[in-house]
Each structure stands twice: as C-alpha cells, then as structure tokens.
Assembly symmetry: C2
Homo-oligomer: 252 residues x 2
C-alpha cells in the first residue's frame, strides 16, 4: 500500500527546459488521486523557489514548500553549528545562504557551481580543508543530463577536494538517509508507505531504500542500460514517469 510519493525532478519530469513526454499528464493524474506528493532534488544550481518557478513554467503545478533541496539542509546545519563556510556553489544559490562575513572560513560547502568552479576557487577551498575544516557536500552526484549530453555534477568536485585534502565529505543531499526522512516527515506518512521515483539507481532509488522507503526506477534522464542491476529485486523499473504513476494508481 502506498500513501505518499516522492519524485526526483531532472530526468524524471524534464530534461533541460523540456518536459519529458507524458510527464505533465502523469503528474496531473497523480495530483488528482490526492496522494501526498513531494519533490526531492539534488539540483544545486537554483534555489527552492527557482525550482518551483521552473516546474510551473514547464506545466507542473507545485508549491515551493513541497520541494526539498540540499541547500535548505545546509542552511540549517550552518546555523546550528555557527559555521562561516566558504561557498563553492552556483551564483544563483548564493542567497539561500547567510551573507558572507569577513570571518575566516571554518567550513567548505560544495554544490554544483558550474562555471563558477575555477582553479583559484577550488584552491581556496582546499586551503581551508587542509587546516581541518569540515567539507559539507550538497550532493555527490557524478553527472546529470543536459540537452546536449551528460555533464559533470557536484560529486566530481567533492571527490577532487576529498582526495587532495585527505578528508571525507559530510553528505547533505541524496542519498543521505536524513535527507529522505525530512521529505517523508513533510508528507505525514510512514516511510515504508512512501515510494521514491527517480532516474538515478544509486542516489534516488538506492538512497530511498536505505532510508526505509520503497523505490521505482525510470528509464529516462540519466538512466543508462544496466543501471537497474544496482537495485535488482528491491525496486520496480518503468519506462517513464507515466508508467510508474499508472502502476501506483492501479494499486490503490
């Protein structure tokens, strides 16, 4: 029995600035069923409200409060621990974080900074880490799909800094179990009755399973043949979101 649905965004609902075939209609059917729904994304190139605006533009009605991003978690961690982090994040994401003070950085936050990744900036981060400061990773995804091909995601740069400074990052986004649990709490449904739908076998589906949720893998977005072996026997696999939603609604 399913009583709640969490969805990944890029690669499940859309790729780049184009909704995937059938995805808008599938979301309408899911919404009409009344099942509580949330969006769990490791996209770290835009703010929560930026993500909501994009979804609206592509035809997916939603509210910013339904969207769970690693930046929101990072902001809470920074406040709790009174950190003054060096931010290696996308320029569009800067205002999700407290204003940078003149204090010497005592932590590093890495997201998918895109073109803002430069040798100089990575080197600044390295020099903070080599002094023993913690490394907070918004995500450690390997790559994501853009309209013209796969592109490097935050994980590559997290790996670079971990290797150089000899440290291990603290992961805030998927597949960290705490990130899924926060999204489940917002649905008000027990984890075992929530299914996570994603195109990333490792970060979406594997992560959700580890957090006690159910999982569904879709063969869109970054999916590459063979990915399902990572979750074989533990998650169902569907051609796309429409097929997954049909299955969810058929089992109600």
């Amino acid at each position: 029995m399913l009583r709640g649905v969490l969805l990944d965004l890029g690669g499940v609902l859309y790729v780049g600035d184009v909704a995937l075939p059938g995805a808008v209609e599938a979301m309408q059917r899911l919404r009409a069923s009344g099942l509580p729904t949330g969006f769990v994304t490791n996209t770290t190139r835009s703010t929560r409200s930026g993500v909501a605006a994009r979804l609206e533009r592509l035809g997916f009605a939603c509210e910013a409060g339904e969207i769970h991003t690693p930046a929101v978690t990072a902001r809470a961690v920074i406040r709790e621990r009174s950190l003054h982090p060096l931010l290696l994040v996308h320029p569009d994401l800067r205002w999700e974080f407290p204003r940078q003070t003149g204090a010497a950085p005592d932590a590093v936050v890495v997201g998918d900074a895109g073109d803002a990744f430069s040798y100089a900036r990575l080197n600044q981060a390295f020099r903070v880490l080599i002094r023993g400061a913690p490394l907070l990773a918004l995500a450690r995804n390997r790559y994501f799909r853009e309209p013209d091909g796969l592109s490097l995601d935050a994980g590559a740069f997290v790996a670079a800094l971990e290797y150089a400074a000899g440290v291990s990052a603290e992961l805030l986004g998927k597949p960290a179990p705490g990130f899924f649990r926060a999204a489940v709490r917002a649905l008000g449904v027990p984890p075992e009755e929530v299914v996570m739908i994603g195109d990333d076998a490792e970060n979406d589906v594997g992560g959700a399973l580890s957090a006690g949720l159910q999982g569904m893998l879709v063969r869109t977005g970054k999916y590459r043949p063979g990915d399902e072996t990572a979750v074989a026997g533990r998650a169902e696999v569907f051609a796309d979101l429409a097929a997954a939603v049909t299955r969810i609604l058929g089992s109600q």
Copy 2:
C-alpha cells in the same frame, strides 16, 4: 653502496623561485663526487627545457637530458598507440605534445593545468571519458608547496574525472614504477644501487622503494610532520638536501 642519485625538484632543491638553503652547495658537492645524477619531477607546468632553464637560473647546473618528466612519457605513449588526446595540461606544456588535429578525441591527458582548469574544459574531458576513452594522468599528486601555501595538484582533477566517469587513470609520472625505471636506465646503474631523494613520502620515496630503488625523505617542501610514518624502517629521513648529500658522500 650507492652508485646513482635521483632527485625530486620542487620542495627539495627549491620552493617557488627560491633555492632552499644549502641546496645549491649540496648539489655542487654531489656533482663533484662524480655520482651519476638525474632529476625526476612530476611538475607538469613546464617543459623539460623549461625546467632546465629554471634550475640554471636558481644556480643548479644541469642538462635537459637529465630531467625526467611525465610529459615525455606521455608523448611516447600517444605515439605508440596513435592516440588523439584531449589535453588538460598547462598552456606552457602544450608544445611537448603532438599538434592537436581535428580528429575526435579518443583519450584524455591530465596534468596540473592550473588556471586552465575550468568547468567547461573538465566537462569536455568527462564527455570523452564516459564514452570509454582512456584517462592518462601525468601525475596524481595531491598538492604542492607554493610560496604562499599548499596548492591543488593534478591528482585532484584526476580524482574528479575518475569519480564522475567511473574510470581508473593510467598513471605516467611518480609513483609509477615504470617512470622511476626509465630514469634509472639513463643512469646506467642497477636500481638497487640508486637512491631517490624527495619531500613526498608517497610519490617520491614510496614510489622509488616499490620500483626497487632506495629512498631518502627530506623535511623540506611539502613535508608535513608525521609523513615519515608512511616509509618508516624503509627509508632514511633528513632535515634537508644538504644532510642527505652529506650522508651519501660519507658512505662512499
């Protein structure tokens, strides 16, 4: 009995553009002894003749032929396998490589490209690797010492690409045993009678030991307290090059 000496450069002979105290005089004593000598560097920011010119400028007489760099090895590998690599190397190193043709890249070569590392360029390399092309790493050093602090070396970017593309790099520079053996062959002395002097416990000393050489670690350059534990009981440790040379000449 020692019959040949290999030396690392940065952090042993000099840091930045300044010779280390006593290093010029120590090299003069070593040269005067007549022991065959070579330089084995993972520096991938300049050509072999650029390295030689820098040594001369700092007061270390040498010939380009005595200098062993990963780029020289890379050039040979590229020729042998008829590769058309995408080059992620320092602009000063470009001319060590065959001229780029219009052919689609079928390999990636990574050195310490410094400020030439950009998201766009790393992403191009990633897209070549994700298609199955080999990754050739000139070096995988974590960091090196600059006058104003430690800085990210090629290894960080090799780790980033390995992580994102799910591949393992083929290492051409230190600590690859083949790289040390090529330098030893140029000395005309059996490996077990050659000592490698370096400030990097892992890449200089550990690598040399793995290739059957002897090793000496100096506490200059990138050396950080505790580094010697990695080679404990297998290599001697000295305050600097002068102390190491005194020991070598005293044992003759």
